[in-house]
Every structure is written in structure tokens, then in C-alpha cells.
């Protein structure tokens, strides 16, 4: 079937198998490989992107379900700007990534979290990231990064 998805502001149209997962549409059709597949039980969140502004696990969504909708991946986070998005900046400043494999999903989940809750407590951050697994960082600096990004958001 023909699927047209607006990915990071750009229309991507393609003829794909009905069963194509959104994550594979993004990686293989749109050519955006930052979003990763880390599991097959919708547990790890490495595939997290924004669908119409809200975080979803793109491995559990069909490309067909995103037809005519907007997807944002980490590659599109800073838009046309040279500057990093505050969440990306904060992850770097706080050493919130090591191998980087979970990071695109973690960043998008964090962006979604802060859109819904601009001033989270540490507990709220930890709970909001329960669907994003990381094996390298122990989450300590990821939490710091999200709180730092939230803080910067309040100041600006």
C-alpha cells in the first residue's frame, strides 16, 4: 500500500508492504537510522519517536497507522537550527549517554515528557522513562540531563 508520512517536516511517500513497521519505514525508506530497534516485545523504547507530537514506540506502530501524520525523530529535533535542542544539549552536558544506542529513543521520550510535564520531580522523570531501557548509564545522568533541560526551559 502507499503510505505518506511527514518525517521531520518532509513528506516521505512510498509503496510498502502492509505489515511494514514504522521503525523500518523510518530507517529503510526515509533513510533515518538514528532510531534503533532494541527488542521485539515493545519493552525497550529504543525506537521511540514522536507521532503527532506524542512519544510512541515505532516498532509497535505500523507505517500505515502513521500515514498522513507527522513523525519527529532525533534527527529532526533541532529543526533547521545549528544549535542543539535543549534536551540534546543537556544530555551532552550531563554525560547522559555512553554507547548511544538507546539515546535517540531516550531523548525523544524526554522531549515528550517535558512537553507534558515541564517541571517534573526526579521521581516523575524516573517513572516517565520507565519504558526506555539503558544498559550503560544506570540512568543517573539521564535523569540529571532531563532535569537540567527542564530547568533551562523554565529560565528561557
Amino acid at each position: 500500500m502507499k503510505v505518506t508520512v511527514s518525517v521531520n517536516g518532509k513528506q516521505i511517500a512510498a509503496e510498502v508492504a502492509d505489515r511494514t513497521l514504522l521503525v523500518h519505514f523510518l530507517r529503510d525508506v526515509a533513510g533515518l537510522t538514528a532510531t534503533n530497534v532494541g527488542c521485539d516485545t515493545s519493552s525497550c523504547g529504543a525506537c521511540t519517536v514522536l507521532l503527532n507530537g506524542r512519544s510512541v514506540k515505532s516498532c509497535t506502530v505500523l507505517a500505515a497507522q502513521a500515514d498522513g501524520r507527522e513523525v519527529t525523530t532525533v534527527e529532526g529535533l533541532s529543526g533547521d537550527s545549528e544549535e542543539l535542542h535543549p534536551v540534546q544539549r543537556a544530555f551532552r552536558a550531563e554525560h547522559g549517554l555512553q554507547c548511544g544506542f538507546c539515546t535517540p529513543g531516550m531523548v525523544m521520550a524526554s522531549v515528550s515528557l517535558l512537553a507534558e510535564n515541564p517541571s517534573p520531580t526526579e521521581d516523575e522523570v524516573r517513572t516517565a522513562l520507565e519504558g526506555n531501557l539503558c544498559r550503560c548509564t544506570g540512568y543517573h545522568n539521564i535523569v540529571r540531563a532531563v532535569l537540567a533541560a527542564a530547568s533551562e526551559g523554565r529560565l528561557s
Binding site: 516485545t41 551532552r92 555512553q98 548511544g100 539503558c134 545522568n141
Partner: protein
């Protein structure tokens, strides 16, 4: 002021945070443009004879290029002669001979997940469809599950061996040593089987062209992988290139090149197509090696006033279906058995047994977490036995600072240490006395939520394979930039940043102008890679030494350029320029000096070893809250000292400690690879295999301590595995401590709510509450 020791953000991150890393499955290189996909057919059963494989239906499926089984593998060289290894040599090498592991299964499968066939299709989706159509006839054999199952010998994985014991060795038991003790405690404890679960599973791409093989591999050791591939496929290593792009975590389970990667490389040759393979998580849970899986009998004896006199550790290592590492893991466990304590009499013994489960190999700590978990449980049991505070028992027995270097009875020589100081720092930082007071208050009130405080002191061995050394090549280009070619192979550790820091510190070339290259055997032909927490003390020192050599070359060139004597020159590190001492106007940039160096350029190659391992150490203190009605334990604080010598990058060290602590806590509370009595895996997905999430952890309290190593110029030991080693026993001890007043003495890991509740109930039944 040197950049070393300062807080520097990583150079790796801008790319990882925007375009994302390039992991094997992300590669879009021209060589792989026409690549086909490999999909494995794996055994669903734990132990069976293969009586037939029918690939006819699969071959007809859409997009199928080939369906390969062992019958197609007639183009491989014969395997090397039996190495004659017994497995007790302390080498991480597979046992050959009777215990040999094939590539695709021959006539028998020995673990659920063992590869039996591989389907080659145009795309990934077709691969999964076609793999379902391969029909394999299995004649089930009785499964060997667990330690007792293996030892009983009722069913044998390798009938020619006559037993399931692949190797064994040890010190004979000397009961006299224990007879002299006031109190002796003996206990069987289990260090459970774990799955490493790096977020990126295993992935391989391979292409043969013009007699050369290129393999893109998610590996921790490109150079070692090259040798393995060359050996198995019968190639000259010079005709094999291995490229490790970004690697999404390894934790020891991506050392070298494993069986499935070899099959993909062979299949690429056999079909004449470039191939790509990236496993699913379900495949990873069974196909990637597991860790730990040791059963211990600990016996500890000492005096009533707290002195430990004797310790015996008996180990049964479940190595899974094939002994891929001989006796290496329990060898390390035995070496580190006595931990940071001065115990006069130490005995160790181990047996390695095969079972119908995924093969075991290194997983963060690789044999040392097991040693620490055993002795830290034993020390707590001893403390309870003599009615003394467990921190106090540790203080009495920790090797004092004036006794280093210290050679333990099991043969490890600990280089430098400040063990008591580490313990005291953690106790003070945690507010130990107040924690005990709060615990007492809750016990007095009979609160449902009880508090547990668990302490663990440890010493661990890093760069255990220091003999292999590490390589570094440093080139300063005539545009003033520099390139480091490192034999180390970061997969999250941030070496690019650390090595750039070293170059800036030595040469004054800014980090932003330093490129680090690793993991490509064409560009870095010699090297060992990253495991055993060896990278900074070997790979980093190699980089520093290369920088020092380049500096001396540059001095000569600058002297010629400036028409001055070498003795009159200085390198202004802040400005990154060479000049006549005291005459800034004479300065020449690195670009100018490099250009002046002519064809020889400025380049140094170093192959460095310090010759011996180092021994980081520390203390962890975990505070848990246990709901005594449900058994659920919650970690509320975790305070640590992890002393790995002089800290080059505080940011990177903290990250390693955090990650290690999280995995250590997860072993104590959540994770276990479980098989049912027929050898079927029960925890084969991330729904059931419970790796820890942000919700279950607090922020950690890391205290600083730097007791330099003396055998390398950076004063560095390895930090990568230390956090895991200390965190597991501290957390386990903490939960048991929370319910010890109810009579509980021990609970095996993971301390799930059901297990804690059962332990409370069992103690109550025995009327053990005081």
C-alpha cells in the same frame, strides 16, 4: 593546568545525539548496497538429535537466495588439531576435542537457540517468513538442567566424555584449619545465570571480493575477531578486514567473533553475496552468551572477636552447552576468592559442568563478581554467627594500608590499596550510625516497611591479560591536527574523549583537533581491544607514550626550524606552540613543525604493556526498604567508593560507576535466566527477563578516592567492572539485613518479592525471629 583530571564533555556526543551512531545495521556503505539478509533457524528444544532437515518449502519462499545447513559446509578447512587444553590452565579458550562446538549444528543440538540453518533472502521480512518454513526433525534427548542435573550424569551432552564435568581442579579441603575456629559457618549459595542484554544485539555484515573478506562486526576486539575469522575460514589474516563501527554495548559478550558471526561470514562466501545479519532480541536472549551461573559452597571460620582465620570456596561453574572459556571464569573467581581480607588460610576448588543451556562467557566482571558475592555473603554470615556488626568485622579483617603490595593465599598480588579508608569513607558518607538507629526504631515499632543496610568491600583484578599490551599510533598532520590509532575499542566508554585529553595534555593540541580511530584492522592492524577494564591503563598509557615520542621528534624538528638548540626550546602547552624559551614571538605551530618534518612526518608507534594487572578496590553500601508483607525490596540509597587509581576523566569514571552499579543492583534484585526442567527458557524476552529501569533506582552517591597505581605513568587502574562487583553483594546483604530480625539468614539472588516473602515465612516457621 593540565586538562587531565578535569570535567570534560565527550567529543563523541554531538554525532550520537543528532545523526545517531552508526551501528552495523545502520551501515549504508556501497559494499553492502546489494547485500542479502541472513536469518537463522534455531533449535526450539534444549537437547535433541537432529534426524532430518527439510529445506524444500523454504527454498520456494519469496525472495529466498539460499537455505544453508551443515551439509553445505564442505568448503571449510578442517578444524585445527585438538589443542590439548584441559581447561584448568586459566586461559579463556574453548575446550576442543570431545567438547568441540560446531558452526551450524551437525547431528545434535545442545541448547535452545543453537543455530541449525541459515536462510538467505533479499530482505529481512522475507527472511523471517522463509525461516518458518524450514522443517527440522528433532528426536528429544533428556535435558541436563542445573548444577545437580549436570553433576548427576544421568544424561550426557557429550557421551564420549563420560560425564558432564569438562574440567576440575582445586586445593584439597583441610579441616584442621577450621577446627581451630570459634565459629564456622558453611552455606551453599548461588550466583545466578544472567543475560548481558546490551541494547544493540549481535550484528554482522560480510562481503568477499577479490579474495578478501571484509566483516563489519559489533565487536569489542576487531583484531582478535580477524584472527578468529581467518583461522576458522582458512584465510591469511592479511586478507581479512574487520571493521567495528559504533558498537551498542558489549559487557564482555561481544569479545572477538562468535559462532553466529562466523556462520554469516562463511555464508557470504558460500553464496557469493554480501550478507547482513542483525539478531532480534529473542535470538539475543538465547544466542548471545550468558554470564555468571556459579554455585558456591562457602565455609568461613574465625574467632569470636571477629578475626577470620579460614575460608573455603567451592565452585561449580555451569558453562552451558559448550565450554567456550575452559575454566577461565572460575579460575579468576578462585584467584580473587579471599577478596580484600587478610585471611591466613584460603582454599578454592572448581568444577566446570556442561548443561543444555546457552554457553557462558564473560559478563561485566567475568568471575570476579562471583568471588566478591561469595565472600561478602560469607563475611555477613560470619558476622551474624559471632553477633558483631558486619562493617566492624570487615574493618578488622581488611588488609591494612601498610601491607601493600599484598600477595593473597590464592596467588594474587594486590598492588596498592586503602581498604579500611574506603570502608570508613562510605560509612561516614552514608551516615551509618543514623541508618542503624533508624533501622532499630522501625524494628522496635514493628513497621511493615523495614530498613536494611548492606555493606560490601571488594578488590578486583583489571588488565588480567596485561601481557597482551595495547597499541597506539599517533600522527600529527601538517594542518596541525592529530590522529590517534588505538588498539583499544570503545563501545560506550568514551575513549575518543580520553585519548584526545591525553594528546592535549602532552602536546597542547586542542581536543577538538584530535581524531581517534579504532576498531578497523586496516587502519589499526595490531591491538587487543576493550575488555577486562584494561583500556586506560594499557591503551591510554600507550597513547601517552606515543605523544611523548612525537614530542621528542617534534623537538628536533622545531630546533631545526627555529635554528636553535633543542635545550633552548619549550612547548607552550596552553597555546600549543613550540618556541625558544622566553621568546613567544619565535613560536611555531604544530602545523608548521609537522610540515617541516618532511616525508618522515611526526608519527610514533607504541606497543605497551605494564606487564602485570592492577587491583582497584572499594566499598559499597546499599540501603533498602523491604515491605515485610509483600517481600518487595526497594533500593533507596547506594553509596560507594570505587578507587581505580588516578582519575583521568571524572565524567567518564562516574558514568562507568553508575552503569556498573545499576547492573550489579539488577543482579541482586531482578535478573535471572531461568530454564524449565526440560531446558526450555522461561525468561526469553525483555518482558520476563527483568533488566532494571530508571524507576527502580535512586540517584547514586559516589565518593571519591584515588590511590594511584604505581606500575604505569597514569597511575591508572580499571574502573569498567568495579561498580558491578561491589553493588551486587551490598544490595543482597542489605535486603537480607532488612529481615534478619525476623530470623532470615540468607536469600539467593535475585531477591524477588516472592523469594523474600518465602524466606520470611520459612524463618517464622522455624521460630527463628528474635
Amino acid at each position: 593546568m593540565s586538562i587531565l583530571g578535569t570535567r570534560v564533555v565527550r567529543t563523541e556526543d554531538p554525532r550520537l545525539l543528532t545523526a545517531g551512531g552508526t551501528y552495523v545495521d545502520d551501515l549504508r556503505v556501497p559494499e553492502l548496497a546489494q547485500a542479502a539478509r541472513a536469518t537463522f533457524v534455531r533449535s526450539p528444544v534444549a537437547h535433541a538429535a537432529i534426524t532430518g532437515i527439510d529445506v524444500s518449502a523454504a527454498k520456494e519462499a519469496p525472495g529466498v537466495v539460499a537455505v544453508l545447513t551443515v551439509a553445505d559446509m564442505d568448503d571449510l578447512p578442517p578444524p585445527p588439531p585438538d589443542s590439548g587444553l584441559t581447561g584448568t590452565e586459566g586461559a579463556p579458550l574453548p575446550l576442543g576435542g570431545i567438547w568441540s562446538e560446531p558452526l551450524l549444528a551437525v547431528d545434535r543440538v545442545r541448547f535452545a537457540g543453537e543455530p541449525v540453518a541459515v536462510v538467505i533472502t533479499d530482505d529481512r521480512y522475507q527472511g523471517e517468513d522463509a525461516a518458518e518454513l524450514v522443517s527440522v526433525d528433532y528426536d528429544p534427548l533428556p535435558a541436563v538442567v542445573g548444577f545437580e542435573g549436570a553433576l548427576s550424569g544421568d544424561s550426557l551432552l557429550f557421551p564420549a566424555a563420560g560425564s558432564n564435568v569438562a574440567c576440575a581442579t582445586g586445593t584439597p579441603a583441610d579441616t584442621a584449619a577450621f577446627d581451630g575456629c570459634d565459629v564456622v559457618v558453611e552455606r551453599e549459595i548461588v550466583n545466578q545465570r544472567l543475560a548481558p542484554v546490551p541494547l544493540e544485539g549481535r550484528a554482522t555484515a560480510a562481503r568477499w571480493a577479490d579474495g578478501k573478506l571484509t566483516v563489519w562486526l559489533s565487536t569489542q576486539n576487531a583484531q582478535i575477531a580477524r584472527f578468529i575469522l581467518a583461522g576458522v575460514l582458512g584465510l591469511d589474516p592479511a586478507n581479512v578486514r574487520v571493521v567495528a563501527p559504533d558498537v551498542g554495548g558489549g559487557f564482555g559478550a561481544k569479545i572477538g567473533a562468535d559462532r553466529d558471526a562466523l556462520i554469516v561470514a562463511w555464508a557470504a562466501k558460500h553464496t557469493g553475496r554480501a550478507l547482513r545479519w542483525a539478531e532480534t532480541r529473542s535470538e539475543n536472549m538465547l544466542g548471545m552468551t550468558h554470564g555468571r551461573a556459579q554455585r558456591h559452597v562457602v565455609k568461613i571460620g574465625g574467632t569470636r572477636d571477629g578475626r577470620i582465620l579460614a575460608y573455603r570456596l567451592e565452585i561449580v561453574q555451569d558453562t552451558g552447552a559448550y565450554p567456550r572459556m575452559g575454566g577461565f571464569l572460575p579460575f579468576l573467581t578462585s584467584l580473587m576468592a579471599a577478596g580484600p581480607y587478610d585471611i591466613g588460610h584460603v582454599e578454592t576448588a572448581y568444577q566446570v559442568v556442561v548443561t543444555n543451556a546457552t554457553p557462558i562467557s564473560a559478563y561485566r566482571g567475568a568471575g570476579r563478581p562471583e568471588a566478591t558475592a561469595a565472600i561478602e555473603r560469607a563475611v555477613d554470615l560470619f558476622a551474624t554467627g559471632i553477633g558483631m556488626d558486619p562493617a566492624e568485622v570487615r574493618r578488622i579483617n581488611l588488609i591494612p594500608a601498610d601491607k601493600f603490595p599484598f600477595t593473597s593465599p590464592s596467588g594474587a598480588t594486590y598492588d596498592t590499596g586503602a581498604y579500611v579508608e574506603a570502608l570508613d569513607k562510605v560509612l561516614a558518607g552514608a551516615g551509618y550510625a543514623e541508618l542503624r538507629a533508624e533501622q532499630a526504631r522501625r524494628r522496635e515499632r514493628g513497621d511493615v516497611q523495614q530498613l536494611g543496610i548492606g555493606v560490601a568491600s571488594y578488590v578486583e583484578i583489571t588488565a588480567a591479560d596485561a601481557d597482551g599490551g595495547e597499541t597506539a599510533r599517533l600522527v600529527v598532520h601538517d594542518d596541525g591536527t592529530a590522529t590517534v590509532y588505538s588498539g583499544s575499542s570503545a563501545h560506550g566508554q568514551g575513549h575518543d574523549t580520553a585519548w584526545a585529553m591525553l594528546v592535549e595534555a602532552e602536546l597542547g593540541i586542542k581536543m577538538s583537533k584530535v581524531t581517534v580511530i579504532h576498531g578497523d584492522t586496516d587502519l589499526v592492524p595490531a591491538g587487543i581491544g576493550t575488555h577486562a577494564s584494561r583500556s586506560l591503563q594499557l591503551g591510554g598509557v600507550a597513547v601517552q607514550k606515543a605523544a611523548v615520542e612525537v614530542k621528542e621528534q617534534a623537538r628536533k624538528v622545531a630546533a631545526d626550524l627555529l635554528e636553535a638548540s633543542e635545550d633552548d626550546l619549550e612547548l607552550d602547552l596552553d597555546r600549543g606552540v613550540w618556541q625558544v624559551r622566553g621568546d613567544p614571538a619565535s613560536s611555531r605551530t604544530w602545523a608548521q613543525v609537522a610540515a617541516h618534518a618532511g616525508d618522515a612526518g611526526l608519527a610514533a608507534d607504541v606497543n605497551y604493556t605494564q606487564g602485570k594487572p592492577t587491583f582497584p578496590f572499594g566499598t559499597h553500601l546499599a540501603v533498602t526498604e523491604v515491605d515485610t508483607e509483600t517481600g518487595k525490596a526497594r533500593l533507596i540509597r547506594h553509596v560507594t567508593v570505587d578507587d581505580a587509581g588516578t582519575v583521568l576523566s571524572p565524567v567518564l569514571v562516574e558514568g562507568q560507576r553508575h552503569g556498573g552499579i545499576a547492573q550489579g543492583v539488577a543482579q541482586a534484585l531482578l535478573e535471572e535466566m531461568v530454564y524449565d526442567p526440560d531446558g526450555n527458557p522461561v525468561t526469553g524476552t525483555l518482558v520476563d527477563y527483568a533488566i532494571v529501569t530508571a524507576t527502580e533506582l535512586p540517584s547514586f552517591e559516589l565518593l571519591t578516592s584515588e590511590t594511584p597505581a604505581t606500575i604505569n605513568p597514569l597511575g591508572a587502574k580499571g574502573i569498567g567492572e568495579a561498580g558491578t562487583i561491589g553493588a551486587t553483594p551490598a544490595t543482597q546483604n542489605s535486603v537480607i539485613d532488612a529481615v534478619s530480625h525476623l530470623g532470615v539468614r540468607h536469600i539467593d539472588m535475585p531477591l524477588t518479592p516472592a523469594r523474600v516473602w518465602a524466606a520470611i515465612g520459612a524463618a517464622a516457621e522455624k521460630g527463628m525471629a528474635r
